[in-house]
C-alpha cells in the first residue's frame, strides 16, 4: 500500500502519520523558517507500509516521512556521503570467532535510525 490519495479516508493511516510526526517533533528535526529568495525547498512525501507478523497477520501500520533526496545538489545541499555497510567477511569473521571462543553474540536494532544524525 503506497498510495498517497487514499490515506485521508482511512483513519489508520492518520494514526500512523500522527505517530511519525510526534517522533519528528520530539526529535526537533526541523524548525519553520522563511525560504531564502531564489532558493527552492526540496519536497517530501509520505510512505505507507503495512508491517506483518510472521504468521501473516497485520502487525501495525507505519507511515514514514521521507525527504526527496534526489533533488539535492552536491556541494550545495550536501558534501559528504557514506554508506555504512559492513563487509560480509567481517560479519562472518566475527561469528567464526564467537563460535570458536564460545563468546556471546547479541543483536540490537535502532528505531528511526536516520533521525539521530545531526546536520
Amino acid at each position: 500500500m503506497q498510495n498517497e490519495e487514499c490515506h485521508n479516508y482511512d483513519p489508520k493511516w492518520d494514526n500512523a502519520m500522527d505517530e511519525e510526526m510526534a517522533a519528528l517533533d520530539a526529535n526537533a528535526t526541523w524548525e519553520l523558517v522563511a525560504l531564502l529568495e531564489d532558493k527552492k525547498a526540496i519536497g517530501c512525501k509520505w510512505v505507507y507500509k503495512v508491517k506483518h507478523n510472521a504468521d501473516g497477520s497485520v502487525n501495525r501500520y507505519k507511515a514514514r516521512l521521507v525527504a526527496k533526496g534526489y533533488a539535492q545538489t552536491y556541494g550545495i545541499d550536501y558534501e559528504k556521503t557514506y554508506s555504512l555497510v559492513a563487509k560480509m567477511t567481517t560479519v562472518r569473521a566475527i561469528i567464526a570467532m564467537a563460535a570458536t571462543k564460545g563468546w556471546s553474540l547479541h543483536q540490537m536494532d535502532v528505531k528511526n535510525v536516520f533521525l539521530h544524525g545531526d546536520l
Binding site: 517530501c44 558534501e79 562472518r92 564467537a98 533521525l115 539521530h116
Partner: protein, 334 residues
C-alpha cells in the same frame, strides 16, 4: 524542505522546514548516523577497526558491527555486553533483540557444537517466487566443461526476471561458497541474457533445492587459524580468453571469505594465471592482518599453488609480475 502534506502549519503555510536532524531519503542521512554512533562509541573507549569502518572494538574484548540500523555485539563476558546494551539504550532509541538469530535474511543457529549460518528461508522463498518448487532437484549446479557463449541461442524475453533471479543468487552466495563460480558465470550475461543462460540459472535453482540445508558451520573450540587456498584455470573464458581465479579462506573451522573471479588481464601461461591468483589472494590476507586487533592468533597460510609460484619466481621477470611477486614476498613473511 517543504512542509509535510496534511501537516502544513495553518498559520504559516508559506514557511519551509529547516532541517536540524537527518531524515530518511536525504543523501547525507547514513553518514550523519554513522558519525553520531561512531563518535559515541569512540568516546566510550572503542576504536574503529582498520579492517572495516563499521567495526568497533574495545580492548576488554568486545566488538560491535554496525549494518545501518542493525548492530551485532560480541564479547567474552555477558556482563560487559549487558552494560554496553544498557548504555546504548539510554543514548539511542534501541530495541534489544537478544541473541543473534537473524541478520539480513541470514539465519544464525547456535548449538553447543558451534554456530550455523544458513539462508534456508530466503532460498525457499525465492524458489516459490520463481515457480521452481515443482522442478526436480539436481546434485550439481553446472555441467563440467560447458562453456557459455554470449551470442548463441534465442534472447530471453523477460530480462528483468533474469536479473532478478541472478540478483537473488548473488545474495545467496553470502553463505554458499559452492555457488560462487557458477553465479559468476551467469552474471556475465546480465545485459543480454539468452535461453542457454536461463537454463543454467534454472539448474542452479534446482541445485539449491537439493542443498537447502547447506550453509557454513563454525565449530566451537576449533583452532583459530587462517588457512587459505587459491587456484586458477587458464584462459577459461572462451569469449576473451581471460582466466578465472579463485581463493577461499577459512578461520577456525569455517570459511569466512572466498571469491571466484575473472582475472583482469590475459595470462600467457597457466603459471602466470595461478601466480596472479596467488597475488589477489595475498591482498585478501593483508586485509585480515587488520583484524588482528580482535584476534591474537598464530598465522598460518597455505597456498595450493605455492610450488608453482616458487618456480615462477625464477622464470618470470616482467615488471607487473615483479610487482605482484613483491606483494607476495612481503606478506608471506608477515
Amino acid at each position: 524542505m517543504e512542509q509535510p502534506l496534511s501537516y502544513v502549519d495553518q498559520t504559516h503555510p508559506n514557511l519551509v522546514c529547516r532541517l536540524k536532524k537527518a531524515l530518511y531519503g536525504l543523501k547525507q542521512a547514513p553518514k550523519a548516523w554513522l558519525d553520531k554512533i561512531g563518535q559515541y562509541l569512540v568516546t566510550s573507549g572503542f576504536q574503529t577497526s582498520h579492517a572495516d569502518f563499521s567495526l568497533y572494538v574495545k580492548k576488554t574484548d568486545h566488538g560491535i558491527v554496525i549494518y545501518v540500523d542493525d548492530l551485532i555485539i560480541i564479547g567474552d563476558s555477558d556482563a560487559n555486553i549487558f552494560d554496553l546494551k544498557k548504555l546504548l539504550k539510554q543514548k539511542f532509541e534501541m530495541k534489544d533483540l537478544g541473541k543473534l538469530r537473524y541478520f539480513l535474511g541470514i539465519e544464525v543457529i547456535h548449538s553447543p557444537k558451534g554456530i550455523w549460518l544458513l539462508q534456508r528461508q530466503y532460498a525457499l522463498n525465492k524458489l516459490v517466487e520463481y515457480g521452481m518448487m515443482s522442478y526436480k532437484p539436481i546434485s550439481i549446479p553446472f555441467e563440467q566443461n560447458v562453456k557459455l557463449s554470449a551470442d548463441e541461442g534465442d534472447l530471453v524475453e523477460d530480462t528483468t526476471m533474469y536479473k532478478h533471479i541472478v540478483g537473488s543468487l548473488i545474495y545467496m552466495t553470502i553463505t554458499r561458497p559452492d555457488l560462487s563460480y557458477v553465479v559468476g558465470v551467469v552474471s556475465q550475461f546480465m545485459q543480454t541474457p539468452r535461453k542457454p543462460h536461463l537454463d543454467v540459472v534454472r539448474c542452479i535453482l534446482r541445485y539449491i533445492k537439493h542443498t537447502l540445508q547447506c550453509g557454513i558451520f563454525y565449530e566451537a573450540k576449533s583452532q583459530l587459524q587462517v588457512h587459505g587456498y587459491t587456484n586458477a584455470d587458464w584462459a577459461g573464458n572462451v569469449l576473451d580468453r581471460r582466466s578465472i581465479g579463485g581463493f577461499i579462506f577459512s578461520f577456525g573451522s569455517g570459511v569466512i571469505s572466498w571469491s571466484s573471479k575473472k582475472q583482469p588481464t590475459v595470462a600467457l601461461s597457466s603459471t602466470e594465471a595461478e601466480y596472479r591468483g596467488v597475488a589477489i589472494a595475498t591482498c585478501e590476507v593483508v586485509c585480515y592482518k587488520n583484524y588482528s586487533q580482535i584476534w591474537d592468533n598464530q598465522w598460518m597460510l597455505m597456498l595450493s599453488s605455492i610450488v608453482i609460484t616458487l618456480v615462477a619466481y625464477y622464470l618470470l621477470t616482467t615488471q607487473s609480475i615483479m610487482l605482484r611477486q613483491s606483494t607476495l614476498r612481503c606478506t608471506t613473511t608477515l
